[in-house]
């Protein structure tokens, strides 16, 4: 018995609006982006837009501002991920030991920055990091420590941006890790306690291996997120001083709105697409593997 055409078409009709959106706002823009990266775009007179082959790619790889942005993004990602993951892991293990009111409240407080706009957080931190009137240097002065230039020196600007990003995301990742920790059966810990395993040994031999799949996913999600960094940088430093905190996305933004170099902007966009694409590929490959094993 053959199902009538109307029945067979039903799922496609149900999906139609969703896929109109995906076609218009995901698939088409990606194709257009790649297409434009092979052209020298003239925005005022589009008839003067000319095909230039790989020229944008070659010129971008030789462009020191882009290479700096690429390097900055890598440095930013590395430090943000290392610090966030390390602190979030410690915090999660420690806070999940006791589920009392204060622990819950601490989790809630640490999570709050995650739901607040980067604009707000960027603004309040740029006030606190002001070398003269800012809170940080004035607190340091109380302890007799000489203050920093924070965002205003190319030596400390990147560190300051990383500091803000780590502060903003610790709480979120702690709670993700606490979720993972709660899936470990308590009987394993009881067995370890019977064997007189110390805190550090338990952590190294049981806790971390048991949550390593979740940790790895968290790591990839964090990496993808940090390669897209823009908001915090735009508010805190505007890429400065002297390009010290310019990221890939910041570079793209600058090419589009300040330098009107669309060829370069789209080519840098393709680079971002490739980086995020590779990371996403790794993510889904691991995801299907994990589903397979369970």
């Amino acid at each position: 018995m053959k199902t009538p055409l109307r029945e067979r078409l039903k799922p496609y009709l149900l999906l139609l609006p969703a896929f109109v959106g995906i076609a218009l706002f995901t698939v088409y823009p990606v194709i257009r982006l790649i297409y434009l990266s092979f052209f020298k775009v003239n925005q005022l007179n589009t008839s003067k837009t000319t095909f230039v082959g790989w020229k944008n790619y070659i010129s971008l790889l030789g462009n020191s501002a882009f290479m700096t942005s690429l390097k900055n993004t890598g440095v930013y990602s590395l430090w943000t991920i290392v610090f966030t993951l390390a602190i979030a892991l410690c915090l999660a293990v420690w806070l999940s030991q006791k589920q009392d009111h204060l622990s819950k409240f601490t989790q809630g407080a640490a999570f709050m920055p995650h739901v607040i706009s980067s604009v707000s957080i960027g603004l309040v931190f740029s006030q606190m990091m002001n070398p003269t009137y800012g809170l940080f240097n004035n607190i340091l002065a109380v302890f007799g420590v000489r203050g920093f230039q924070w965002l205003q020196s190319s030596q400390t600007a990147m560190g300051s941006v990383v500091f803000v990003s780590v502060w903003k995301s610790i709480g979120y990742y702690s709670l993700i890790i606490i979720g993972a920790l709660q899936s470990i059966s308590p009987s394993i810990y009881e067995a370890a306690a019977l064997d007189n395993a110390g805190t550090w040994a338990t952590m190294k031999k049981i806790t971390i291996p048991m949550i390593s799949p979740q940790l790895f996913f968290t790591l990839i999600v964090m990496t993808i997120g940090s390669f897209k960094v823009f908001d915090t940088i735009r508010i805190l430093t505007d890429g400065g001083p002297n390009n010290a905190t310019s990221s890939i996305v910041y570079y793209i933004y600058k090419q589009v709105f300040w330098e009107y170099n669309i060829g370069r902007a789209t080519t840098a966009g393709v680079f971002l697409l490739i980086i995020v694409g590779v990371l996403t590929g790794v993510y889904f490959a691991l995801l299907s593997k994990r589903v397979h094993y369970q």
């Binding site: 799922p11 218009l24 823009p29 407080a109 640490a110 999570f111 920055p113 996305v249 995020v276």
Partner: protein, 276 residues
């Protein structure tokens, strides 16, 4: 001896937790403090921790400095439109993926995942050109339409729908229920928590969003609140921190208020969506 050591350990534990709370809450208190300071207080040494009096003037200044009523109105319209549009589109799509077998299902589902992972920072320029071609840059549509398909929402809702027993749907079909009736009478009531969690994530995400409106708007009539607040810092002349922080409160207060009322619910929505 052992007991005293345990006691000390407990006290230190409590102390460290309190310090952690202060580290995460203080910047928000500081925001509030600076917003109530006078301009002299913000640029005076030693710095002012507690303002001498509640100086509401900076709020008035911030409000008059830029059309905040328009910004807030825009943000609200954008968010409500996005949530409605997303829900209308998401529900049938998740239903199709959860309860139908059809050719190309795997391929279409992988497209959903790709759309979910695609950064807006990659797609914004072609979308901007498209919106310019459509001549809608003077409306809020460039900030609404691109978010019509909530890929992540479809993914999450599909999991809720898959838990609805097939027998229930079969029984409804025997009673000659239409698909619309099945969706509204069976599927939706059973997935209310999922839909409200997705709406909450959309609300927080778009209220806070900065990148998309920054690249999609070029006039005050269509700007949302994040842009308005950020522009207080870009304004010419000396930075007036009290005014900037007052403006900042317009952006922060609604979210903090909701967060204090429903922090457990909000945390669970975010964490659940993060683990999947």
């Amino acid at each position: 001896m052992y007991q005293t050591r345990q006691k000390i350990g407990q006290v230190i534990g409590i102390l460290v937790k309190v310090i952690i709370c202060v580290i995460f809450i203080f910047p928000f208190v500081w925001m509030l403090s600076v917003s109530f300071q006078t301009e002299q207080e913000t640029t005076r040494l030693p710095i002012t921790l507690i303002p001498s009096h509640l100086n509401w003037q900076s709020y008035v200044d911030a409000w008059n400095c830029a059309p905040f009523a328009v910004y807030i109105k825009n943000s609200v319209i954008i968010i409500i439109s996005i949530i409605l549009l997303q829900t209308i589109i998401m529900v049938p799509a998740a239903y199709a993926f959860a309860k139908f077998d059809f050719k190309g299902k795997g391929f279409l589902f992988s497209l959903i995942l790709i759309a979910f992972m695609m950064p807006t920072q990659v797609t914004f320029l072609p979308v901007y050109y498209m919106m310019s071609d459509w001549k809608v840059m003077k409306t809020l549509l460039p900030q609404i339409l691109p978010f019509m398909t909530n890929a992540f929402g479809i993914f999450l809702l599909r999991q809720y729908f898959m838990q609805v027993p097939d027998e229930l749907i079969e029984a409804a079909k025997l009673d000659n229920a239409s698909e619309v009736q099945i969706l509204s009478k069976i599927m939706l009531p059973m997935s209310k928590p999922g839909i409200s969690a997705i709406a909450l994530l959309s609300f927080v995400g778009h209220w806070n969003d900065y990148f998309w409106p920054l690249v999609m708007t070029n006039s005050d009539e269509v700007r949302p609140i994040t842009i308005g607040v950020a522009r207080l810092k870009d304004a010419e002349g000396n930075l007036q921190w009290n005014m900037i922080m007052a403006g900042n409160m317009f952006l922060v207060f609604p979210i903090v208020f909701i967060y204090i009322l429903a922090s457990r619910y909000i945390i669970n929505s975010f964490v659940y969506s993060g683990i999947k």
